[in-house]
């Protein structure tokens, strides 16, 4: 198993390095001079040149890349051009909204999808299964931001149960803050749950046809125990794979959903940064999200080894 884990770790590290090169290269070819941007239009060419030297912009390409990476590793992302504060401070503030949102959505989608998948698989072809999978088919087709708008209309405009948008901050009390994350989390979670539910169902159906399931039933184990203990565990690999992929979609989804609900998260920050051409902020957030995706996929790879004992024996 060590060899398997080591290989995944090396691949993840390699991907991360390549990704950082891509992000750096993109920012390199962007038009616009950060020094000019910071000093404003009235600055003289000399002033700009002095600042360029101070910022290290005149150093050779490789040196600048290494400097940037070293900064990232020590959580020093540089200073925002427009806010004039370290980028890490902005990110820390915003991540306190985005991360809980993504995690609640992920948890919600798993809590909905797994029981639905088990329900459908155990009633394959019957009315309950058809209904659940019909709903899932519909769920896959619904764009999360439109679903969000409909939720706002129903629960915030009509029923007035939750706020339509905005975020009071965690200082306003956990419950108050959570209340404004409920609708965004549901909007993110349901379409993902539809995908996950379908995968869980088909993985389970495949496992339920295996000989060892028949053996477990034949030796007198109750159906429920076989379904939840034996079958579900063996169906976990495809489910975990999708869960990992979904995290990437969830992060992207968070960016859009935050704009629907006016949540002050990373998504809002990145769009503000784009319009203000605050490229160092864009660069940092993109790199952060890409690193998160790579890390989650690595964790998924590791979790295979926990779920599937066969992998533990290999090599």
């Amino acid at each position: 198993m060590t060899a398997y884990l080591l290989k995944r770790l090396i691949i993840a590290a390699l991907t991360l390095v390549l990704a950082s090169m891509v992000v750096f290269a993109v920012m390199e070819i962007l038009p616009g001079d950060p020094a000019r941007l910071m000093l404003g239009l009235n600055a003289s060419a000399d002033q700009v040149e002095v600042l360029r030297n101070q910022m290290g912009l005149n150093a050779p390409l490789l040196l600048r890349y290494l400097h940037w990476v070293a900064g990232l590793l020590s959580l020093d992302f540089g200073r925002s051009y427009t806010y004039s504060v370290p980028v890490i401070e902005l990110v820390r503030e915003r991540i306190a909204v985005s991360l809980p949102l993504a995690l609640i959505a992920l948890a919600l989608s798993t809590i909905i999808a797994i029981p639905v998948g088990v329900f459908s698989a155990s009633r394959q072809g019957r009315a309950g299964d058809t209904l659940a999978m019909g709903a899932a088919q519909l769920g896959v087709a619904v764009p999360n931001f439109w679903f969000a708008l409909m939720l706002i209309y129903l629960f915030a405009v009509w029923l007035r149960l939750v706020p339509a948008g905005g975020f009071p901050g965690w200082g306003a009390g956990i419950w108050t803050a959570l209340k404004s994350l409920i609708l965004p989390a549901i909007a993110l979670a349901l379409p993902q749950a539809a995908i996950l539910g379908r995968v869980a169902r088909s993985a389970l159906i495949e496992v339920l046809n295996e000989d060892y399931i028949r053996t477990a039933r034949a030796k007198g184990l109750p159906y429920r125990a076989v379904l939840w203990r034996h079958a579900l565990r063996n169906a976990m690999i495809p489910v975990l794979t999708i869960l990992g992929l979904q995290f990437a979609f969830l992060l992207a989804g968070t960016i859009i959903i935050e704009n629907v609900f006016y949540l002050p998260g990373l998504g809002r920050l990145i769009f503000q940064a784009i319009t203000q051409r605050d490229l160092i902020v864009v660069e940092s957030i993109v790199m952060l999200l890409v690193a998160a995706v790579i890390l989650i996929n690595l964790l998924v790879d590791f979790s295979y080894a926990i779920v599937d004992p066969r992998l533990r024996g290999r090599q």
């Binding site: 991907t15 962007l30 896959v140 087709a141 931001f145 209309y153 990437a248 992207a252 859009i256 704009n259």
Partner: protein, 289 residues
């Protein structure tokens, strides 16, 4: 689980009979054709001119004159949805084209060559997968500015590794077969075998994946346009219409309801079609994403 690719006992008539008996396929096909027809009709005729602003008619509720109501500029929502269908279909179609055009040769090459080339390709795949389509769109927009073309590129780039993976997996299953051995014995080269023998045998796999990516492309385009990274006004697009609707949810909910339903119906139709094709061509296959 791998898809069975060879169906020697299948005849065209047999496949057709199966197709007519497959509910997913039929419903999906009807919806898809309907949407394509709507998009095509919009070139010739729409109930109202979407380029003309009639402020006197702004934000009118659905009525006989305007079935789906009007927007904040007095434009007819139904007409805008019709014209918007063009944009959605064009973006998603070209993005699938980019994905297939680059991804399939890469995947086929990796499968044929194996070894280092294969390993390198899979690592490149990992790299692209680390950038969700929205993130690449954000970076591309940061460079070139927002627009429909950049949305196509962003979604297309994301499609490349998807098709490369499907083509590689499909091709790997074909290469060990006898008829490939026969072709090699006949002196055919790697490229020729890939084109003449591998490609026809993985075509159905690619078709199913293409339908799925087409549906995902429509969702992605709507998302990008919604956040302002896709089609720019005045070009009507479903995502952009939803953006305009957002601040008017209380006064004009129809501005949000109908474009959203257009997206849902289109994506639903394409997914049903993809499921149907997969079922018809291989009854054992269950769709995986």
């Amino acid at each position: 689980m791998t898809m069975r690719i060879d169906l020697p006992e299948e005849t065209l008539a047999g496949v057709l009979a199966k197709a007519l008996g497959n509910r997913s396929f039929l419903i999906g096909l009807v919806i898809t054709l309907l949407i394509v027809a709507v998009a095509l009709i919009s070139f010739l005729w729409t109930p109202y001119d979407v380029a003309r602003l009639v402020i006197a008619d702004k934000t009118q509720a659905p009525s006989w004159a305007h079935w789906f109501g009007t927007d904040h500029f007095g434009r007819d929502i139904l007409s805008m949805i019709m014209v918007g269908a063009r944009n959605s279909i064009a973006v998603a179609l070209v993005a699938v084209g980019i994905g297939m055009g680059i991804g399939v040769p890469l995947g086929a090459f990796a499968a044929a060559r194996g070894g280092l080339a294969d390993e390198a390709l899979m690592r490149l795949n990992d790299l692209v997968f680390a950038f969700p389509a929205l993130l690449s769109a954000i970076m591309i927009t940061a460079i070139f500015g927002p627009g429909a073309v950049n949305a196509i590129i962003a979604i297309g780039i994301f499609n490349i590794p998807v098709f490369a993976r499907v083509a590689r997996a499909g091709a790997l299953a074909i290469w060990p077969r006898e008829f490939i051995l026969a072709a090699r014995a006949a002196g055919k080269g790697m490229t020729r075998i890939s084109i003449e023998h591998i490609l026809p045998n993985i075509a159905t796999l690619l078709l199913v994946q293409g339908t799925i990516q087409f549906a995902l492309g429509i969702l992605a385009e709507a998302g990008l346009s919604y956040v302002g990274l896709g089609a720019q006004p005045p070009m009507p697009s479903w995502g952009r219409m939803l953006f305009d609707a957002q601040t008017r949810m209380v006064t004009a909910p129809w501005m949000a309801i109908f474009p959203g339903m257009a997206i849902v119906i289109t994506v639903l139709g394409l997914n049903l079609l993809g499921d149907g094709i997969a079922d018809i061509l291989d009854p054992k296959s269950r769709r995986r994403r």
